[in-house]
Amino acid sequence: MARVKFLCDADRCIECNACVTACKNEHDVPWGINRRRVVTINDGKPGERSVSMACMHCTDAPCAAVCPVSCFYTTADAVVLHSKDLCIGCGYCFYACPFGAPQYPKVGNFGSRGKMDKCTYCAGGPEADLTSAEYVKYGSNRLAEGKLPICAEMCSTKSLLAGDGDIIASIYKERVMKRGYGSGAWGWKTAYKETIAS
């Protein structure tokens, strides 16, 4: 099994937000929650870049480390998933996550946190693959259908890459070599404790 990752080549991202929209549509993500977002750094200044960010499915994931009820698990593909049946909506994963991935619907006591929701790498959850129970809680399971995450698959400039970490790293490396610059594999150092030499 491959170790899958996300890689956003900020030098290609045109901030079209199609990944954000496609993700919301694919998984019927509840109102107020965005599993993926595009952040523009240095907006309007020289060197402006946009980065599409979601759960990075970290190695040694902080969310899994701090969860009081141990609701996270890592699949054979190294996708970090969680069980909404176990989640108590305490917010600890949100405090620990470097990427702001965990989000909560406002359905808890006094309108506070409900069950956490985050990017599943289009891999569903602990329920049986491709069941309606799985879809209702976690959205569609494209990985089980042999497809990659929808956000990366439909990215018009192929800025957002998903798949085997080694393969997407080599694609990015080749791009950097060819064009002579790169603003870095965003979040890789934080998520995977490694970076792509450019």
Partner: protein, 338 residues
Amino acid sequence: MSSPRSLINTIAAALVIAFAWTISPAAAQNNNFNPTAQAVNEDQLLNALKSGDRLSGRVSIPDPKSASLIQPAGQEWRAFHQNKLPLIGGVAILGMLAALVLFYLVRGRIRVDSGMSGVTITRFAGIDRFVHWLTAGCFIILALSGLNVSFGRMVIMPLFGPEAFASLAAYGKLAHNYLAFPFMLGLALMFLIWVKDNIPGKIDLDWIKAGGGLFSKGAHPPAKRFNAGQKVVFWIVIVGGVAMSVSGWFLLFPYLPAAGVSALQFWTTIHAVLAVLFVAAMLAHAYIGSVGMEGAFDAMGSGEVDLNWAKEHHALWVEEEKARGRAPATPPHAMPAE
């Protein structure tokens, strides 16, 4: 023949060409500047961050929280929660338990030296006991459910498995959220009814100098309604309770405008550290009010304490009560049948 004007024009043109010639290397260099390649670089941006800072930008999603791209402070919070908190909690709570066991083994149960008189005096009226147990009852459930969220995964989850433990933790969280309010009510009432007897005074210094009689048998430094030790407990509860309430308020309402991720990380840290210290302090309070001292529990149990106990521990208070005409009474069932 050329006019002076055309001569000037020729010279001017020559100068412009010469000037253009001299600056052309600079122009060529400017063309080497590639705005695309001079992009923001992740490493540079991350290195420029100060502790607690976030890498953020502009988002088109109408949710300001999503503008944060990377927040390295999350890893500091993780390190606190996974390493420092168990250490602080372990030292405070297990250390206090060990100290209490040691104290019990060395000092034993503190007896009423002059023996039980069988005559009682009203120490705490119904309202006092109601407020005490309202606060204490909430505190016990808040403490257990709070400790469960912090340490239950280590201690309890292996016993019951993740499913049963998650249900327990979910009910614990519900209890924690709702009982916060009666706890705060108890705190407020406790402050109102007892603050007048908990103002520190000179007599407290003498009590502390005598070690409160805790470490020497037969020593009973005089005290009014509350001795210095009890006053310390009172102020720990009031100040600690208010700090727990303020920090907890932020955690209870995570969507308040003031509650960004940095603020919530800060308040959880405060809440957790104060909580384990609070629990440790209350363990000592519970010990001396029950197992640790003969006759002490009656004060918060029936509210009627033995007169000899009262004279030994609150001599000045007994005098005050007598002066007020609240005479000790012999309870109807206190005398043995023989």
